[in-house]
């Protein structure tokens, strides 16, 4: 009996120490402020002389590459801004939390950042977790700018804005582009049905392609899921026997690298038409870029664009992160930090303001902004949160992007 009580007490102690331990680790630096703000609820004031920007995304698990790119891209922008004096004189403190691409973990990460004293959220990276987090930021009235969560559901709340396109835009633009440029007569579509991004583009593409029946018809459509994204032999063989001369690929580059390789192995050589997720394909380590020859993609950002801004960013990124070529996610995150900076300076956001004050100021400021960044020039936001910018059509020639027109 005694031992039993002892073991119970021990278990109890463990739980208590776990909770209090977290309280300690959660608020390094400004724990007092964070502690009191937890009680105050939404009106969290961080105190101190820095502006605290938090970010959330997957850095472990199968979607880790996207989170890592956002983390690195944002860190680069933060370091640059801090070296140049910060936002209106106050330095930025940046913290990134892992969500493993899971809605529940994402909310946990958000709460952790709140305990840390976050004032602005630059995230989250992936769509499904992002929607769960927007519910929280909306309740807390915290300004949220997502670099890459592209579904329309993400911007349902008025405090959430996007840097990337919403999915429908890209689908319609692609369908029209193929039609007006007469790129094909028989089109096949391959998409990732478990990915909101891919599915959203696919649905709009199919709708719009009906209007293009004069120039092309969709002869085959096939799906895959996150769990079956290594083997496309069945789908590609079907496309091949359907006689498709263009395959529309609304999914990310690392999957596209596999698709291209497997298509080549079965001697299937249509035009592959991608969207912004396709960017990065030339940077896949060890990928034979010859396979990507003549791939067309609509994208706002390409890593080997010749403008000064992009080149500077790519060089700095490669230097800081082991010679890895930045993908669009990194560029979106880099832009996001600068967008926050510009909106904050314009509206006079100061360190030490409450999150809901900042949110109000930034919401107003961002809709009046015209931002020139890596992923577009003259980017404007409507009050609903979507960004207005133009995708550019690129074609890969001799292992490098060339503008289509």
């Amino acid at each position: 009996m005694k031992k039993k009580i002892v073991s119970l007490v021990m278990a109890g102690l463990l739980v208590v120490s776990a909770i209090s331990g977290c309280g300690g680790s959660g608020g390094s630096g400004s724990s007092a402020a964070a502690g009191s703000s937890a009680a105050a609820g939404s009106g969290a004031a961080a105190g101190g002389s820095t502006i605290k920007i938090g970010s959330i995304g997957p850095v472990t698990g199968a979607a880790a590459l996207y989170g890592e790119a956002v983390k690195n891209g944002a860190q680069l922008a933060v370091d640059e801004i801090n070296a140049a004096g910060g936002i209106g004189g106050s330095k930025i403190e940046f913290k990134f939390e892992d969500d493993e691409h899971d809605a529940e973990k994402s909310v946990n990460a958000y709460n952790t950042l709140k305990d840390w004293g976050m004032q602005i959220l630059m995230g989250t990276v992936t769509t499904t977790p992002c929607i769960a987090v927007t519910e929280k930021t909306s309740a807390d009235q915290m300004f949220q700018l997502t670099p890459s969560a592209s579904s329309q559901d993400v911007i349902a709340k008025d405090n959430v804005f996007q840097v990337c396109f919403t999915d429908p835009n890209q689908g319609i633009a692609s369908a029209k582009y193929i039609g007006t440029k007469k790129l094909a007569t028989k089109v096949a579509v391959l998409y990732n049905s478990s990915d909101v991004y891919s599915k959203g583009i696919y649905e709009k593409f199919m709708e719009e392609s009906k209007n293009q029946s004069g120039t092309y018809t969709v002869v085959a459509e096939e799906a895959f899921t996150d769990e079956s994204k290594t083997d496309f032999s069945a789908q590609l063989n079907k496309f091949k026997s359907a006689g498709a001369d263009l395959v529309f690929c609304p999914f990310y580059y690392e999957v596209a690298a596999v698709v291209l390789k497997q298509a080549n192995e079965i001697k299937f050589t249509p035009t592959f038409f991608g969207v912004d997720g396709m960017d990065g394909i030339l940077g896949v380590e060890n990928f034979d870029t010859k396979l990507a020859e003549n791939v067309v993609l609509l994208t706002p950002f390409v890593a080997d664009a010749q403008d000064e801004k992009t080149q500077k960013f790519v060089a700095a990124y490669k230097k800081a992160y082991n010679n890895v070529t930045p993908i669009q996610f990194a560029a979106d995150a880099y832009d996001a930090i600068y967008i926050i900076k510009e909106a904050a300076e314009k509206s006079g956001v100061k360190a030490g303001m409450k999150t809901d004050e900042i949110c109000k100021l930034l919401k107003e400021a961002i809709t009046g902004l015209s931002f020139d960044g890596l992923t577009g020039t003259g980017m404007k936001w409507s009050a609903d949160g979507a960004v207005n910018k133009d995708p550019k059509a690129m074609v890969i020639k001799n292992g490098a992007y060339t503008a289509m027109d």
């Binding site: 290594t230 690392e254 690298a257 596999v258 060890n286």
Partner: protein
């Protein structure tokens, strides 16, 4: 012709599953444990080949041999550190430890190699075989995978039945206690089983990544689960069973994808598994369990 193409793809995928399943089945037969970390040993093996062959420029064969050596050492180390202290604990305790090892390997790989997927250059230098005016294309990897699978199965069967070490393995799997009394080094035998299983994992990893050329820290986990299913399918503990189970699983998966639904392919595979087990509760070639009071 379409059907033939899909069938050949299925056999090729199935051969890879079969090689992974052999590792599962051998370890299960001897140690009576489900080694959930097996899929991650595959991933480590693939990374070793990637680094030696693609980055350091070693000849392919040398790269594969190094990968096999490293995986063998890794497999034996895991067995020694994580599993052997639990030799007398319940199988479930070992199962959970194996899951821990699986997480550990994935996260080490994530820290060392990063999250960016690597494009794996096929180690098979052959051009694809083009038949019937380009309507039927058989890739080099498919051919190599199928041949390798057959060779490994024959070699393993001979090893288990004809050599002394193989007989020791059979004895340990029959009755560990009795085998020990007969003077068989049980720990050594288990260690050897892990070594062989892990070496096979390296080969499977190379084939897997050559056929489906993307390499991430999570590459091994889904094929691992599928291969485990294949091993049960064929009757866990049985070497020809693992081969048959793997092949069937691969064929069902590809045909399901091609003719029913590419999204429900996994569900179809598992549904067939359930039906098979209901008809034959110990798998296709499994031995019936005799229950004693």
């Amino acid at each position: 012709m379409d059907f033939l193409t899909h069938l050949i793809n299925g056999i090729s995928l199935g051969s890879i599953y079969a090689i992974i399943a052999l590792g599962y089945t051998m370890v299960y037969g001897i140690a009576k444990m489900l080694n959930f970390a097996h899929g991650d040993v595959i991933m480590i093996g693939s990374y070793v080949v990637f680094i030696t062959v693609s980055t350091m420029g070693f000849p392919t064969i040398l790269g594969i041999v190094i990968a096999m050596a490293i995986c063998t050492v890794l497999g034996m180390t895991i067995e020694k550190v994580a599993y052997s202290p639990l030799r007398n604990a319940t199988p479930l305790a070992v199962l959970i430890t194996a899951i821990g090892v699986s997480y550990l390997l994935q996260n080490i790989a994530l820290l060392v190699f990063g999250a960016n997927p690597k494009s794996f250059k096929s180690v098979v230098p052959f051009e694809p075989l083009v038949l019937a005016d380009g309507q039927l294309v058989i890739t080099g990897v498919s051919i190599v995978a199928i041949i390798t699978g057959v060779i490994i199965m024959v070699a393993l069967t001979l090893f288990v039945n004809k050599t002394k070490a193989g007989c020791a393995m059979k004895a340990v799997s029959e009755d560990r206690g009795a085998a020990q009394l007969m003077g068989i080094n049980v720990n050594g035998t288990i260690s050897m089983t892990f070594a062989i299983g892990s070496a096979l994992a390296a080969i499977a990893g190379v084939l897997l990544c050559s056929a489906y050329p993307t390499l991430t820290p999570y590459t091994g986990s889904m094929p691992g689960i599928k291969a485990f299913t294949a091993a049960v399918f064929g009757g866990i503990g049985s070497i020809p069973g693992a081969m048959i189970g793997g092949l069937l699983l691969g064929i069902i998966e590809i045909l399901g994808k091609a003719y029913i639904s590419s999204q429900l392919a996994d569900a179809i595979v598992f549904a067939v598994l359930i039906i098979v087990l209901l008809v034959k509760p110990t798998g296709i070639l499994g031995k019936p369990i005799n229950e004693k009071v």
